[in-house]
């Protein structure tokens, strides 16, 4: 196959690509998660971070506790109505492109806490990109959730545009 452009001149030492793809590739392999861990799922996340399951294999071990420095929000645990405004505020403080994983039954749907105090799914408050099932999810499931986000992150253009354009209206936005 005839090679043209810069690659013809410099050989294998240079790869040409689009700037967007290069940035997406860099972001994908170094996600900085913010763990909004409230309950049992957060204990399971400790396993994800420790050496046996080792989230750093996927480049996401730099856990940030400031939402301003993070691009991946992992909600691990039950969100009560009392907690909801705090979660929303943290989500708002993150800068785009940002991603949300709702981990565990409670965050996804309220789980078996169908009662007066538990929010029936965080997607009533903020938009969610990936849902992870389990009560709590096994560490492998957390990692699968991360991989799913990385897949979305690899081609963020249209997906992100759609999300930004579609105005999200949660229960607390009214």
């Amino acid at each position: 196959m005839a090679v043209s452009g810069e690659e013809a001149i410099f050989g294998d030492s240079v790869i040409t690509t689009k700037l967007d793809s290069a940035i997406a590739w860099a972001r994908e392999s170094s996600m900085w998660p913010y763990i909004f861990g409230t309950a049992c799922c957060a204990i399971e996340f400790m396993s994800v971070a420790s050496s046996k399951f080792d989230i750093s294999r996927f480049g996401a071990e730099v856990v940030r506790f400031s939402p301003r420095q993070a691009d991946l929000l992992i909600i691990a645990g039950t969100i009560s109505y009392k907690q909801a405004p705090i979660l929303k505020r943290i989500y708002e403080q993150m800068t785009e492109p940002k991603w949300v994983v709702s981990a565990g039954a409670c965050a996804c749907s309220g789980g078996f806490y169908d009662n007066y105090t538990t929010l029936q799914g965080v997607d009533e408050i903020i938009p969610v990109d990936v849902y992870v099932s389990g009560c709590p999810p096994r560490p492998e499931a957390f990692l699968e959730g991360l991989i799913q986000i990385q897949k979305l992150q690899a081609k963020p253009g249209k997906y992100l545009q759609k999300r930004v354009e579609k105005e999200f209206k949660g229960k607390l936005d009214a």
Partner: protein, 554 residues
């Protein structure tokens, strides 16, 4: 006993050492018990709403006080009936532990207390209308919360008491609820002068998940998974505590093998609970290596537990009157390996910190709580023992053959962060000792009570006999029928006295379940502990108390 009181008290005595008094006499009785009979440990305060009860009561509500004496082996229950508009005398001047408990009763039931320093909601949010544990409050009626409490209503009087009229010099800071060292969802609001905390207020309830209301909606066995999620670091101990209480109400005892398995798995849960607490506490201190040393053995334990129960964290291994299934072949070898890992992790970690000056400077004489103070605040478990009080339910009120095992109770002498951590290290060692003894003595036999009104019959019986089919059907649909009455029982869980106060109306669903969470009482002392200390010390105080939000907020 109340007969000896000088003020002639009118009372009647019921089963389980429960006394029914007039509401106006309750405080007199408590003062008498505390000052003359040595009942200086407030176990819990709770209430019951009798609105839908099968037989009418003289009044709609009841308020219940549970007290223990100096030796912790005698429990007395005081109860008074009241209507919504009657006002209860607060006992916060006698027991500091009563402060948050009374707030909880107000929050959940709307019963008012006179002379309470700050009677406001504790578990539910500020904008909540109504009182959720009342029987006429629908369980699924959620209420949105739009903004958080600024807590200045508590902070201002506290600052005033310390002589700060003007707040301009102070800096206010929120530690939590979303903070790496807030262990879940606890919020501590502090006023700082430089880096020193001059005043602090704690707010809880961010993980209030309506456990107690959910209990009133499920059969006894359906509640077991909910108990897993109280103290999720040692789920099985919660299972045991709940099942043990209900078995007490039923008047049954597990066969020996069942009890031994409960001891073995329960102690293993205690070990892994302490491991998480210590690992997290050391990370907060900046000693990250210890986290890997202490947390990785937990991974081995998870492996064993998932083989045994099918779940890593939330095991639901117990049932009322038994255990889901017996130990698997090769369990003993796995357990030995697990213990070996724990011991190695602990030795590695201790070799780093035990004689480490930095660790000692960081942990010693920080967050000191004296023995009297700890008792008055209702502390229990390792936190209380670190203050030098010899109270371990396994020794005081032995259950499951604990009196036949040889083990020591680890005690601290100062009651600081260092003691609380070292007591936990020692308790891991003692728990391993118990596990080893129990494995050696593990008898053969059944693991469930044979009564098929309590435990499910074997599948063979269900498919081949009509009795078996009926038993299976009744147990699944209606639940275990627990005799009418009210009952309190507790076990020594990883964090201390974990008790359940259950009121049954004779059906398969409890009428009321109240958990006595050890964390709740430890947490209520945090604001007083951290005042005068540095911010970095406050983080250690919180970690060393091992506050687990699931249990704290329920």
């Amino acid at each position: 006993m109340l007969k000896k009181c000088d003020d002639k008290l009118e009372f009647s005595k019921e089963e389980n050492n429960r006394y029914i008094l007039k509401l106006k006499d309750i405080k007199k009785a408590i003062i008498f018990l505390k000052e003359q009979q040595g009942y200086d440990f407030l176990v819990d305060i709770t209430a019951i709403d009798y609105l839908n009860y099968k037989e009418p009561y003289p009044k709609r509500f009841a308020i219940i006080y549970l007290l223990k004496d100096k030796k912790f082996d005698n429990l007395i229950i005081l109860k008074a009936y009241l209507d919504e508009d009657e006002i209860i005398d607060s006992i916060t001047d006698l027991f500091k532990a009563a402060n948050w408990s009374e707030r909880e009763v107000w929050d959940q039931y709307g019963l008012k207390f006179k002379n309470h320093p700050n009677l406001k909601r504790i578990l539910n949010h500020k904008e909540f209308i109504g009182h959720p544990l009342r029987k006429d409050y629908p369980i699924t009626k959620g209420q949105l919360c739009t903004k958080t409490d600024d807590l200045m209503d508590e902070m201002t009087p506290r600052l005033k008491a310390r002589g700060y009229e003007n707040h301009e010099e102070l800096m206010f800071l929120n530690l939590g609820p979303a903070h790496p060292a807030s262990h879940g969802t606890i919020r501590t609001f502090v006023a700082l002068e430089g880096e020193t905390i001059v005043s602090a207020v704690s707010e809880i309830g961010y993980l209030h998940r309506g456990f107690e209301k959910s209990c009133e909606n499920h059969t006894y066995n359906q509640i077991i998974p909910y108990t897993d999620r109280l103290n999720y670091c040692s789920a099985i101990l919660n299972n045991i505590a709940f099942a043990h209480t209900v078995e007490g109400m039923l008047g049954v005892e597990l066969p020996e093998r069942g009890q031994f398995i409960r001891v073995i798995i329960g102690e293993l849960s205690r070990v892994i609970d302490h491991l998480v607490c210590l690992a997290a506490n050391l990370v907060d201190m900046g000693a990250l290596t210890n986290y890997w040393y202490l947390y990785n053995p937990r991974e081995t334990a998870y492996h064993l537990l998932s083989k045994l129960t099918g779940a890593r964290l939330t095991n639901s291994y117990m049932r009322i009157g038994g255990i889901t299934h017996d130990l698997y072949d090769g369990f003993e070898d796995d357990l030995k390996e697990c213990i070996k890992d724990v011991q190695k992790g602990m030795d590695d970690s201790l070799s780093l910190i035990e004689h480490n000056r930095i660790f000692q400077d960081r942990a010693q004489n920080i967050g000191v709580v004296s023995a009297d103070e700890a008792i008055n605040r209702g502390w229990s478990g390792p936190n209380l023992r670190a203050s030098g009080v010899n109270y371990d339910i396994r020794k005081v009120n032995p259950y499951y053959f604990y009196d036949t095992f040889e083990f020591d109770v680890a005690l601290g002498s100062v009651g600081d962060v260092y003691d609380r951590m070292m007591v936990r290290f020692e308790e891991i060692r003692q728990s391993i000792k118990i596990i080893t003894q129990a494995m050696k003595r593990l008898p053969k036999g059944d693991i469930r009570v044979a009564d098929h009104r309590i435990t499910l019959p074997p599948k063979k019986m269900v498919y081949s006999t009509i009795e078996g089919a009926i038993n299976q059907f009744k147990l699944t649909y209606e639940g275990v029928k627990v005799p009418t009455g009210e009952y309190y029982r507790s076990i020594e869980a990883a964090n201390g006295e974990l008790g359940f106060y259950i009121a049954s109306d004779g059906s398969g669903t409890p009428y009321r379940v109240k958990v006595r969470p050890p964390c709740f009482f430890a947490m209520s002392s945090l604001p007083d502990m951290v005042e005068g200390e540095m911010v970095a010390d406050a983080v250690l105080d919180l970690g060393s108390l091992n506050i687990i939000a699931g249990e704290l907020d329920r």
